[in-house]
């Protein structure tokens, strides 16, 4: 875990201040519409810190609160983090758990994807994971708070930025990954499987199932692709 890695991750993830800020703002405005107080809304974004889990539990909001169903929904939607965490153990297994476990509080899809790509380029550095996680968390929680502090509305460009920037950012990591690819088949299978799951199933599972199918094809090849 180095300071240089932390700084590199922090700078690389700065665009997420904008996209996560916009998404957090939209989430905050929705909480506001539901009648949730500012303190609860901010605490929700800070402790749960998962757009998928928050959106799903929001749709389940009722009186009395269906806590068991909400917990099951959180486990189902966030099960992908088990895979990400296991992968991070491969990268940072040499570090003491007391150093890694607090950083995992801020683990997000994008920070994991960026850390994986950076590990390929510069070698594993847990500082990068922490550095890249911070702008994302500040954007998300700050955006939620802004919904209560300022008379803002979720307009077109704001919604567009919130929805598209994470995907575009991960797309910019693809060229660096391409050099490791021996065959186009795993990526093709990943894309088709993700498309089918997102179109005909539950979109929140498309990354895990699509990526899993492609990885199984990668494993059938003689060398790591």
């Amino acid at each position: 875990m180095t300071t240089a890695g932390f700084r590199r991750g922090l700078v690389a993830a700065l665009p997420f201040l904008l996209s996560n800020g916009a998404a957090g703002l939209v989430m905050g405005l929705t909480y506001k519409g539901l009648g949730l107080g500012a303190a609860h809304a901010i605490l929700f974004s800070l402790l749960v810190y998962s757009a998928t889990a928050q959106a799903i539990t929001l749709s389940m909001w009722a009186s009395p609160l269906p806590i068991v169903a909400m917990v099951v929904a959180c486990i189902a939607t966030n099960s992908r983090y088990l895979l990400m965490g296991a992968h991070l153990r491969q990268l940072f297994g040499g570090l003491a758990p007391r150093k890694m476990l607090p950083s995992l509080f801020l683990l997000a899809d994008a920070s994991w994807l960026m850390t994986s790509a950076d590990a390929d380029r510069n070698g594993p550095d847990a500082g990068y994971l922490l550095g890249s996680s911070i702008p994302m968390a500040v954007g998300w929680v700050g955006g939620t708070a802004l919904a209560y502090a300022a008379p803002l509305a979720a307009n077109g460009p704001l919604r567009l930025a919130a929805a598209l920037l994470p995907t575009m950012f991960i797309a910019t990591l693809l060229p660096s990954q391409w050099k490791n690819v021996r065959s186009p088949w795993p990526w093709l299978i990943s894309a088709v499987a993700a498309l089918l799951v997102a179109r005909f199933g539950d979109p929140s599972w498309s990354m895990l199932i699509g990526g899993g199918c492609g990885t199984l094809v990668s494993m059938m090849e003689p060398s790591d692709a």
Partner: protein, 105 residues
């Protein structure tokens, strides 16, 4: 007033429970993977997973973003491949998505 306090405590309890659940998912994989062999099948699966997950993530994002999202992502990807500059790729991608959205895509 008493009902309001009960409601506040109930909401607070739910938020904390969901927060603990989400953190358990984040840390669980890291903790459980300690018992995994480096040269095993699971370890190889995890080593090969990132690129494939990138693709699946992008496909899901493009689908939910509609044609404007697809245009923006393709433009960002092509710009990155040509320039190797993230700021240029994101600027071009977001500009293309905004333009596509403005013309009704």
């Amino acid at each position: 007033m008493h009902d309001l306090q009960v409601l506040d405590l109930e909401v607070f309890g739910v938020i904390c429970t969901l927060g603990v659940t989400c953190y358990a998912m984040r840390a669980g994989g890291y903790v459980l993977a300690a018992s995994m062999r480096d040269d095993g099948i699971a370890a190889r699966f995890l080593r090969l997973a990132p690129g494939n997950l990138f693709i699946a993530f992008i496909v899901g994002g493009c689908l939910s973003g509609g044609p404007a999202g697809l245009v923006g992502t393709v433009v960002a990807l092509v710009t990155m491949a040509i320039t190797a500059r993230e700021w240029a790729a994101l600027g071009a991608g977001f500009g293309a998505a905004l333009a596509a959205s403005a013309i009704g895509w």
